[in-house]
């Protein structure tokens, strides 16, 4: 049945919608969609956009202290990319019927979530390497799959963003690789970053699917194509060898290759910590919200002026 079938019966429409998704159709903004599909996507996409924007803060923290001109330029370009991703995903999310300004208001009011990982502090230069390699690495695993999701604007945004994230991932790994072949102090700096970022990076995939309230619907609608646990495993499998190649130790005594499953077994994730962080009690939750609010408040007069000037030019 056609997805835009002319009928007033919502359940009939929804059946047609589900069928067309099963048949692999990509949903576009003007197609009919169940309200819940729209809401879930809007939630995911706005959270994703917020994550890009909030993610600029921990990395931006090291721009003025980057240890070489090349590193400084690369880091600025990387953080600039994240701003671009934010813009791009906000625009894609707007196709679902909410303005960027409204989404940002939700973020500033502390009502919207963003990736829990950005509530951890960047306290050394090696953290910039760890974010690029582990955090962007985890994001790539997520986003490569999202690039095949059922909503057209989101999947196209992901395709484009993944290309840039791959560069970010490589530059992060390169930072750590340089540290690991450097002085004792540099090696210690890299290992310390690894110890602090590994577990939070694994938490980025979200709680185990048994605990993930939205998973079933999202899987049915092909917004998600794999479970959180599948993606986490995929990330671990591809990352362990990269760590070994540069001599970084993964801070998990239970990490072990399992010949039978052809995957790495790994230790228990501290989900208490995860829920603490997403509920606002991570080391930097308050700071990040304050930083975004300060930038917004501090820029109010600039936005007002631009608006007033545009109005004047319109009437003149």
């Amino acid at each position: 049945m056609d997805i835009n079938v002319k009928t007033d019966d919502v359940s009939e429409k929804e059946n047609a919608f589900n069928d067309s998704i099963q048949a692999g159709k990509v949903i576009e903004p003007k197609d009919w969609m169940p309200e819940k599909y729209r809401k879930q996507l809007l939630r995911m996409m706005s959270q994703h956009a917020h994550s890009e924007v909030v993610g600029m803060l921990p990395e931006g923290n090291w721009i003025t202290r980057a240890p070489s001109l090349a590193r400084k330029a690369i880091l600025i370009a990387k953080v600039q990319d994240e701003a671009g991703h934010g813009l791009y995903i906000y625009s894609a999310a707007e196709t679902l019927g909410m303005d960027r300004s409204e989404m940002i208001d939700q973020l500033l009011a502390g009502k919207a979530k963003y990736s829990s990982i950005f509530n951890y502090p960047t306290i050394s230069w090696a953290d910039i390497g760890a974010i690029g390699w582990l955090v962007d690495g985890a994001a790539i695993v997520n986003q490569t799959v999202l690039a095949k999701c059922s909503y057209g604007p989101y999947s196209r945004a992901m395709l484009r963003i993944c290309r840039e994230e791959n560069f970010h991932n490589k530059q992060g790994y390169q930072i750590l690789a340089y540290l690991m072949r450097g002085t004792q102090e540099q090696k210690a700096m890299a290992q310390d970053a690894m110890n602090r970022w590994w577990w939070p990076a694994l938490m980025m995939f979200g709680p185990s699917d048994k605990e993930s309230p939205n998973s079933a619907d999202l899987l049915k609608w092909k917004v998600k194509l794999f479970t959180n646990d599948d993606l986490r495993q995929r990330f671990i499998d591809r990352t362990v060898e990269q760590a070994q190649a540069i001599g970084l130790k993964i801070p998990d005594d239970k990490l072990k290759w399992n010949e039978e499953t052809r995957h790495y077994d790994f230790g228990e994730i501290n989900w208490d910590e995860f829920f603490q962080v997403i509920n606002g009690n991570g080391p930097c939750n308050k700071l990040r919200l304050k930083q975004r609010n300060d930038a917004h408040t501090n820029g109010q007069w600039v936005r007002d002026a631009a608006k007033a000037y545009a109005e004047k030019k319109k009437t003149n």
Binding site: G60, P67, L69, A77, Q80, I175, Q291, A295, A306, Y309
Partner: protein
């Protein structure tokens, strides 16, 4: 041993590179904190351009010195008295967007005219670097100039704020045109050009934008700060360097 001409050329390159780098360092403080996301992207772009310019001129300076120095040695292992940037670019922006745009505009107009002349330099590396840089600076001037107009002719508050920025920055513009015997030697050799020769053009450029922005150039200034050419900086500068140089200074043997 460098010849006198090479010494002058080396110093000339460091002056341009230092100015671009320190300006970039200030602008990059904005990344993640801009008034709108689009401006975050624009300011990052400007900072990247300026770092690119600094790297180009540092690299040429190192080539002239020919003793194994690199761009990073200049940027991270010199002290306050060795930096040659103009005082204006090192002034803290304190997250005042109007101040940042005014600074970018005033310095940008100067850089535009300087690079336009340097494109005719008899030194091919200088003319090449100038040709690359002027494309970027053209954009900076347009972008910052647009904002100066918007803020000047925006709201009462934005007008007052950006007029204050102009009042504060204007006395520092005199230093942009300073030159000494280094310049004289390079001018004689057709490598550089007299900055005074485009001063009136610069004044015209900025005055036109200020007219559109309904801003007025402050009169009766009696003090015109100076010192960059001799490495005598403001009190703010040491903090900027301390932050920028901290890692290479703390771990002098490390490669990053």
């Amino acid at each position: 041993m460098m010849t006198d001409l090479n010494k002058a050329l080396n110093e000339f390159c460091l002056r341009i590179a230092d100015n671009s780098l320190i300006h970039a360092q200030r602008i990059s403080e904005w990344t993640g904190h801009g008034p709108i996301l689009e401006e975050d992207i624009a300011m990052s772009n400007v900072a990247l351009d300026l770092i690119g310019q600094a790297r180009g001129f540092y690299t040429y300076a190192a080539q002239i010195e020919a003793n194994g120095k690199t761009e990073d040695v200049y940027a991270f292992h010199r002290g306050e008295r060795e930096f040659r940037n103009k005082l204006m670019v090192e002034l803290p922006d304190n997250k005042d967007f109007g101040f940042t745009m005014m600074k970018l505009f005033l310095n940008g107009c100067f850089d535009y005219l300087m690079f336009r002349d340097l494109m005719k330099s008899t030194d091919e590396t200088i003319s090449g670097l100038a040709a690359k840089s002027i494309k970027e600076v053209t954009y900076h001037v347009r972008h910052a100039g647009d904002w100066v107009v918007r803020l000047g002719d925006g709201t009462q508050e934005s007008h007052e704020r950006v007029q204050n920025s102009l009042n504060e920055l204007w006395p520092f513009t005199n230093e942009l045109f300073e030159q000494d015997n280094i310049d004289t030697l390079l001018i004689t050799n057709g490598i550089a050009f007299d900055k005074e020769s485009f001063r009136s053009e610069w004044t015209k450029m900025v005055t036109e934008i200020f007219a559109k922005a309904t801003l007025s150039i402050p009169e009766n200034n009696t003090y015109f700060p100076t010192g960059g050419l001799k490495g005598v900086h403001t009190e703010h500068f040491g903090f900027l360097l301390a932050e920028m140089q901290y890692l290479p200074r703390m771990y002098p043997d490390a490669v990053w």
